[in-house]
């Protein structure tokens, strides 16, 4: 069989997860948890198989992009938008990451959600979780496989919806399970912040349509050079507004604020959507739009700077966090900054490489963190008072690293897995993060020194906060009774983690210096990519910095482990600066003061003054209701009805009465007078007849 004959299979990557979620919606009520989880994981796993077949057929074929028509969508005048799939090396790479990591997280979620729904006392939500998860996979596949900016936007919005649904999965409680709006507020924050980014995307799309009269990738890219030559501002406008969309979806400055709050979702969601796949959609978008970005160096500079500043900014915040998932969330923002900086300065392969390896080790870290949290939950339940129904004053936070400590004894498997993820993220040779981060740093060193220093500093901080986290969580002594009783997670949770850990170890093999398999793979899609040189100076410096950072974290957190109630040692060292990190630069507070409260003021003004006083009190009550009352009461009731219509009716009555009053006198009751009338009448008629 001709291998390119496999390419028409591509709609299956969307249809299989949809089939999975439909099965779970329709029949899930009668299936037990295992079957639901297997159906969802199977749907995702089959999508991975299809993606792998597509990748194989591209690899064995020419590797050039193939457009697979699937369905017509919009016909308006000259505008024809079809739902076409684009199979090329870039989209297949994304499909493999999404479905591969997605499948592992599905399997993990079978075990995680089984316990989570029980700790939160609502097993009924188990099925809903997998329906949402499959929907997410389908939407992400639409995003990466669409052949036009419009289809990409469909997926873009679809994954935004899934993100909203899954952040707010426990919508009626906060992260500690207490009744609250905290989780649903986090979900809305993510959704609304993303709307701002989507507005940028939409403006870019409108401009694109206005100038190119086409939204398909090929159509846009073919005309891009010509449009750039007659009107360079257009491309700059499009690329900068796409950057706004990227900043929203990929959590870059200044729209990153939703991602840390998104940790309110269950941990598999944090791993899949808010670390490995959805948030990388922005990186994919820039890489996909490479033909546009390479035309406007100003836009590239902007993207690279945004990415670099975000990488450093978020890394400093991560240093000051105590929540195990919050550290990872800021780390994700920081690493996304690396990728955005890379694709911004034209190192598209480096960005995509880091996207893939980051998906491996950040998913591993999040899922291991979930395992830690579950272990503490189990320990908490084993305590004599460890019953959620108890109203004991102290609320136990299983995500707070200050409660942890010494967990490597209770949870050895999770500890080793976490350690691999942390070292990969820190960029220690020869783990995946070392190769991908180094490629970005080497590219930045050549192309954009300012960003190189930003990223190097961020990489130093990355190694430091990961070291801090590992010391705090797994070393020293337990700082809470629940931690002492923590239990290791079962195989359904740890086995996907082992696969991810293996990937985090060998993932660097995708694009080893000198081999450049990913570069060769992607050069079919992204024109003009060049294999980055391995720079020993850069690699050596970053390795030394990473090791120094880990050593520094050992000095602060490993040598004298934290004891219960102790202040963070870094606080002594940095003083107020640590507080700045801990409080996240007060960005949320500033946004509240500058935007949200002003928005609330405007809403209140609109509600109270415009709507309340103007529309309701004045216009509706006074003008409309008043005029109506005046018209009905004064004019119609008093004048027309009472004075005119009644006068006619009464007048007719009076007239009749008066006429009858005079006529009744004829009826006097005397027979003789009637007889006289008859006689008179007869005489008159006869007289008339005779005399006429």
């Amino acid at each position: 069989m001709e291998s390119s004959g496999l390419l028409p299979l591509v709609p299956l990557v969307v249809l299989l997860p949809v089939a999975g979620l439909l099965i779970n919606i329709i029949f899930g009520g009668r299936m037990n948890e295992k079957v639901i989880g297997v159906v969802a994981s199977g749907a995702s796993g089959l999508a991975f198989v299809v993606s792998a077949l597509l990748g194989f057929s591209l690899w064995s074929g020419s590797g050039e992009a193939v457009v697979v028509p699937f369905a017509d969508w919009i016909h308006i005048g000259d505008l024809n938008v079809a739902w076409n799939f684009r199979v090329d090396t870039l989209s297949v790479l994304m499909m493999l990451v999404v479905s591969g990591v997605g499948t592992l997280i599905h399997i993990y979620a079978i075990g995680y959600m089984h316990e989570d729904v029980r700790f939160k006392n609502d097993p009924g939500r188990y099925r809903r979780f997998f329906v949402f998860l499959n929907l997410f996979i389908a939407m992400m596949m639409i995003l990466v496989s669409g052949d036009s900016y419009l289809m990409l936007f469909v997926g873009w919005e679809g994954v935004g919806l899934c993100s909203f649904l899954l952040i707010g999965f426990w919508y009626d409680m906060d992260t500690l399970g207490r009744p609250s709006f905290a989780n649903s507020n986090a979900a809305r924050k993510a959704f609304i912040t993303n709307r701002i980014g989507d507005l940028g995307f939409l403006l870019a799309g409108f401009t694109m349509f206005w100038w190119f009269k086409d939204l398909s990738f090929a159509g846009v890219f073919n005309q891009a050079a010509y449009i750039a030559s007659i009107s360079p501002g257009v491309i700059l406008f499009i690329t900068l507004f796409l950057l706004v969309g990227v900043a929203g979806k990929s959590a870059q400055l200044p729209l990153y604020v939703w991602l840390p709050d998104a940790m309110a979702g269950p941990t598999p969601v944090s791993a899949l959507i808010h670390a490995a796949t959805m948030v990388t959609a922005g990186v994919y978008l820039v890489a996909r739009s490479a033909p546009l970005y390479t035309l406007v160096p100003q836009a590239q500079t902007t993207v690279a700077l945004v990415g670099g500043i975000t990488a450093l900014f978020a890394a400093t915040i991560a240093v000051g966090q105590y929540d195990i998932k919050k550290v990872l969330a800021y780390s994700t923002i920081s690493q996304l900054g690396f990728m955005v900086a890379a694709v911004g300065m034209g190192a598209f392969v480096g960005g995509m490489f880091h996207l893939v390896t980051h998906a491996f080790f950040k998913a591993l870290l999040f899922l291991s963190a979930g395992s830690v949290i579950l272990g503490l939950e189990r320990g908490h339940h084993h305590l004599p008072h460890g019953n959620r129904e108890d109203s004991h004053a102290e609320v136990f936070d299983p995500g707070d690293m200050r409660n942890m400590g010494g967990l490597r004894k209770q949870m050895p498997v999770t500890f080793w897995l976490y350690l691999i993820g942390a070292l990969a993220l820190a960029g220690i040779f020869p783990l995946a993060g070392f190769w991908s981060k180094d490629e970005i740093l080497a590219d930045a060193f050549h192309k954009f020194p300012a960003v190189y220093w930003l990223l190097t500093l961020a990489a130093f901080l990355t190694a430091f906060y990961m070291g801090r986290q590992v010391w705090m969580v797994f070393f020293g002594k337990p700082r809470h009774a629940a931690t002492e009783h923590a239990q290791e997670s079962p195989g359904v949770i740890t086995i996907p983690l082992m696969i991810l850990a293996a990937l985090a170890i060998v993932g660097g093999g995708l694009n080893l210096p000198g081999v450049h398999s990913l570069t060769l793979w992607l050069e079919h899609t992204i024109a003009g990519v060049e294999a980055g040189e391995f720079n020993f100076l850069v690699a050596g410096l970053s390795t030394i910095l990473a090791l120094a950072a880990i050593a520094l974290s050992w000095v602060l957190y490993g040598r004298h482990p934290l004891v219960e109630g102790q202040k963070d040692p870094l606080k002594k060292l940095l003083g107020p600066l640590f507080t700045v990190f801990e409080r996240k630069y007060w960005v949320d507070e500033a946004y509240w003061a500058i935007f949200v409260n002003r928005y609330v003021d405007v809403s209140r003004f609109l509600a109270d003054v415009i709507d309340g006083r103007f529309w309701h009190d004045w216009f509706h009550e006074k003008v409309l209701a008043g005029t109506y009352n005046w018209l009905s009461r004064t004019v119609l009731d008093l004048r027309v009805d009472q004075q005119f219509i009644d006068a006619i009716a009464n007048g007719l009555g009076d007239l009749t009465r008066r006429i009858s009053g005079s006529l009744r006198r004829l009826q006097n009751g005397f027979v003789r007078s009637y007889a006289l009338a008859v006689l008179t009448g007869t005489v008159i008629i006869l007289g008339y007849l005779i005399l006429k």
């Binding site: 006198r665 009826q667 009751g669 005397f670 003789r672 006689l679």
Partner: protein
Amino acid sequence: MAQTIPLSWYLAISAALFAMGALGVLIRRNPLIIFMSVELMLNAANLAFVAFARSFDVLTGQIFVFFVMTVSAAEVAVGLALIIIIFRNKHSIDVDLLNSLKG
């Protein structure tokens, strides 16, 4: 009988009798008298019938007179019965007392 009384004389007597009858009906209050006046009017009509019948030499008028006499006899029978009932109710037969239909 060459010299016959002309038709107009009969008719004049008939008209005079009818006028007297009608006047009696209109001005008297005693129902018996009124009845008699009605009989006078009927007989004035009878006189006109026979006068015409004789003058035009047809029998129809003569026969019609018998009908009128029969009807007037029946009328008197019903009328007298009514007068008796009225007397029983009102203890009087004055027709001016029967004004219940006054408007």
